[in-house]
Symmetry: C2
Subunit: 118 residues, 2 copies
């Protein structure tokens, strides 16, 4: 692919999340180093505390959320940039009445998600 | 860093561009695999045809532009996802009256830019 629109890519539920979907905008089979995804959490949705084996580089497109990263807690909104190191526990809880949407880039390769405290 | 806002990061001119600035949102010293940058081109601005030694994964945040990628020409706008393989000639010319803004992720490591036809 060279160009595609975000609205033309299928959104799929994220099993570990609540009212959370994601879409793969540039997949690991399309680019050599890293993948680009978008996550959409409906108002009231989120992701519980978990770890991944790969780091996340994120950019908030819309909405607000409380994001826990290790021992820190942040309220994030449009234009915020979030870096989550590999292995660091993190969670998302939407705030307000509109969907929370963000881009999330991850390196290609295997990723294991583990819920914390389960 | 864990969280920072795009408006708190310095924008610097891109020497090869016209009315084009960029900012490093997550730098190669902060993340192990790839960097996240934002480019802002004022109306009338752009970048001439050039190559880079690294691939680009891009997401359009605002505005419109004509983007050439190899032998293809695309008009892109908000929500468009653009992949430019390493070594592929590409250029940007803004369209309309508002700034053209996009995120651009690149793998860490040396990158050489070469203008095409100069």
């Amino acid at each position: 692919m060279s160009v595609r629109n975000v609205d033309d890519v299928t959104l799929k539920p994220v099993p570990a999340g609540t009212d959370t979907q994601h879409q793969v905008l540039i997949g690991p089979g399309e680019a050599p180093s890293f993948a680009l995804r978008r996550f959409v959490m409906q108002a009231g949705g989120g992701m519980p505390l978990h770890t991944n084996t790969v780091e996340h580089e994120q950019y908030v497109l819309r909405g607000r959320a409380r994001v826990v990263i290790g021992s820190e807690e942040h309220e994030v909104s449009k234009g915020d940039v979030v870096f989550i190191p590999a292995g660091t526990p993190h969670s998302y809880d939407t705030l307000g009445d509109e969907p929370f949407e963000f881009l999330c880039a991850v390196p290609n390769g295997p990723d294991t998600i583990e819920l914390v405290g389960c």
